[in-house]
Amino acid sequence: EPEVTQTPSHQVTQMGQEVILRCVPISNHLYFYWYRQILGQKVEFLVSFYNNEISEKSEIFDDQFSVERPDGSNFTLKIRSTKLEDSAMYFCASKPPGQPHSPLHFGNGTRLTVT
């Protein structure tokens, strides 16, 4: 069964550094999402993306965050200047078009540790 793939599985970075989290959604999917889960807290919606633009974003998704679909297969989340509080598990998800009752398919996540 096709899967959403996220790389790396674990990323350690220093505060203030830029980090890019990568995701390869399922090939025929056109709706893309990022969620995050700070340790011990709920999974939170960050952003949704469709047709090469952001559909919706949460309050968390401020100017230091950006998303991009640089080619036909990758979907990336960039954090420009990481803070300690950005440490979390980041989940990418995707969904096929034209199927309103098709659920999100999540990747295994990237654990980001900011030191």
Partner: protein
């Protein structure tokens, strides 16, 4: 505003016993409801979903859930738990935009 409450942080159950995980939601319209399971170091795997229709939905691994609109609940059940069911379980609610709100999760421990 939409939200999910999972009242039980941690449940311990004996192998072979039944399991019920509670989920209460708040949503302004007809909700899409989901249960996901997360094993250590793994992603979120969908167990089952409810969109409309029959209020008792069947999922993978022998799980089922019942949507009760009057109680704003979507409780997850399994008649006989296996050791491999030890994991963290998340209930989630959303709409057609799939901007999901998750509960805090319930950790299930299975004892032999």
């Amino acid at each position: 505003a939409q939200s999910v409450t999972q009242p039980d942080i941690h449940i311990t159950v004996s192998e072979g016993a039944s399991l019920e995980l509670r989920c209460n939601y708040s949503y302004g319209a007809t909700p899409y409801l989901f249960w996901y399971v997360q094993s250590p170091g793994q992603g979120l795997q969908l167990l089952l979903k409810y969109f409309s229709g029959d209020t008792l939905v069947q999922g993978i691994k022998g799980f089922e859930a019942e949507f009760k609109r009057s109680q704003s609940s979507f409780n997850l059940r399994k008649p006989s738990v296996h050791w491999s069911d030890a994991a963290e379980y998340f209930c989630a609610v959303g709409g057609t935009d799939y901007k999901l709100s998750f509960g805090a999760g319930t950790t299930v421990t299975v004892r032999a």
